[in-house]
């Protein structure tokens, strides 16, 4: 099941172990972007060393499913230690737009209810309120959803939005009709 039927990119998590030397992080990220991966976030646990004395780094990225193996291969070719590569921390990236009186209807409550009622977490939020926060505004929300939970997560977004009189612009998802 693909979130965007036309151009499915998925979110993956890669756990790396880096040697504590200058430039190591940059060297580890380069093969990702060079092979069609788009970096979403980097969690760099500098104060926390692995038993081998290395620094654990967790990288969230999105790419097309057929590119993911290429990205992981490229990391290993570059001499980066890959501890875990996505399979079990496997999510889909879903984007929705919300339109309406977002601020007056407590946007943070809207998002936390979406997170609490479905297997989704908000990974990014952009708000555009051209007339100020009192008028109609738009928000773009990126959700990371467990791969079998997309239809469910969108249903939750719809029901919270309906209650608050917000309009949802959903992506196309197979099986949603």
């Amino acid at each position: 099941m693909a979130a965007d039927v036309d151009a499915a990119t998925r979110a993956y998590t890669v756990r790396l172990e880096l040697v504590d030397e200058p430039g190591e992080l940059l060297r580890a990220l380069e093969p990702i972007s060079a092979n069609g991966g788009n970096l979403l976030s980097i969690y760099h646990e500098r104060g926390n060393l692995t038993p081998r004395g290395n620094i654990p780094v967790e990288v969230d990225l999105e790419c097309r499913p057929d590119r993911f193996d290429v990205v992981v291969e490229a990391l290993r070719d570059a001499g980066v230690t890959v501890i875990q590569a996505g399979e079990d921390a496997y999510t889909e990236q879903v984007t929705v737009l919300l339109v309406g009186h977002l601020v007056d209807t407590d946007l943070s409550d809207t998002l936390s209810r979406v997170e609490s009622c479905s297997a989704a977490s908000v990974t990014d939020l952009s708000l555009d309120a051209p007339e100020g926060t009192d008028d109609v505004s738009s928000a773009r929300v990126h959700l990371a959803v467990e791969s079998d939970g997309v239809v469910d997560a969108l249903a939750t977004v719809r029901s919270v939005a309906e209650e608050k009189d917000l309009q949802v612009v959903e992506p196309l998802v197979e099986g949603s009709t």
């Binding site: 036309d6 309406g100 109609v136 738009s138 773009r140 309009q167 612009v169 959903e170």
Partner: protein
């Protein structure tokens, strides 16, 4: 084939003008006030001249076109909702006489599909309705060719007016009201654009697709569809989508389980992000992936071409 054309709007007039070039004879034409019948074949340009000069196709009673000796009735009166009259009765009368019917009017297939198939079952006549979905684009013909059970879903851009408005808003950063006024000046949107911008027109097409895809297991009408329009989409929503490589389009979806229309996020480079008044339909097939069919979804000659494609299928 000998055709009787009921309805002399843009589509009916184009059928009359184009039928000869496809090897057919039009033996009767009716508008809401009058009819003209000639069982040896009408002179299309004379009828069209009379319609434009005097606002009526002839002097006979409109009923006489329905009684003419034709092979196929082309029902091209305006789409009406609920009981789908008078279009539905025109179809019923043709089927009772064991004549074939080609619909350009969406009402009978969208609102009374069960009644229609019941009547068709009792008749020697057959009903075809390619022109009711996406104008010139052969969506229903393709579904028939593949087999209804081989197509699991259809989705697409099925209303040119709504697509024109959204694609101009996204490209120029203009408000809905501004672009709508521009579309009305260009003749792309009607003075009352409700049917288009509220999603009703696209929903009727999706309901027809859902009726076809369910293949008798269930029938749907407009009231069963989940429909949302585009009036409330602000430019800020299109900006946010654009920053993400996406855009918003009024997308209709149909499966055997129902129909849904609403503004949806689609990839900017994807097949559904067509611009202007163009239509596109994506069919999901069981074993051949997705098919994309695009073209002009409205217009007299375009819709008449779909009507004449149906007439051709009836001849086989």
């Amino acid at each position: 084939m000998k055709l009787a054309v009921v309805g002399a709007g843009a589509v009916g007039r184009s059928v009359l003008a184009l039928a000869g070039g496809h090897g057919h004879e039009v033996v009767a034409v009716a508008d809401s006030k009058s009819a003209v019948v000639d069982e040896d074949g009408l002179d299309a340009s004379a009828v069209l001249d009379r319609k434009s000069a005097r606002g009526r196709v002839g002097e006979a009673d409109p009923e006489s076109a329905l009684e003419a000796e034709y092979d196929a009735l082309v029902e091209a009166t305006p789409t009406t909702l609920d009981d789908a009259e008078p279009g539905f009765s025109h179809v019923a009368r043709a089927l009772e006489r064991d004549r074939d019917v080609v619909l350009a009017n969406k009402g009978p297939v969208a609102e009374r599909y069960a009644d229609l198939t019941a009547l068709e079952g009792e008749s020697e006549g057959r009903v075809r309705f390619e022109a009711t979905v996406a104008g010139a684009i052969p969506v229903l013909g393709t579904i028939e060719d593949y087999g209804r059970s081989q197509v699991t879903a259809a989705r697409g851009i099925l209303n040119g007016t709504a697509n024109f408005v959204l694609s101009r808003m996204a490209a120029e950063g203009l408000s809905y009201e501004h672009v709508l006024a521009e579309a009305q000046d260009l003749g792309v949107a009607e003075a009352d654009p409700t049917f288009d911008v509220d999603g009703t027109d696209a929903a009727l097409k999706c309901v027809i697709l859902a009726n076809v895809l369910s293949d008798g297991d269930a029938t749907y009408a407009l009231a069963d569809a989940d429909v949302e329009g585009i009036r409330s989409i602000p430019p800020s929503a299109l900006d946010l989508a654009g920053e993400d490589g996406r855009t918003v389009r009024l997308v209709g979806e149909a499966t055997a389980d129902g129909a849904r229309v609403g503004p949806r996020l689609v990839p900017e480079e994807g097949p559904l992000a067509v611009t202007g008044t163009r239509n596109v339909v994506q069919l999901e097939t069981e074993s051949a992936g997705s098919l994309e069919l695009g073209g002009r979804g409205a217009g007299g000659d375009e819709t008449a071409s779909a009507v004449l494609a149906d007439v051709r299928r009836l001849e086989r």
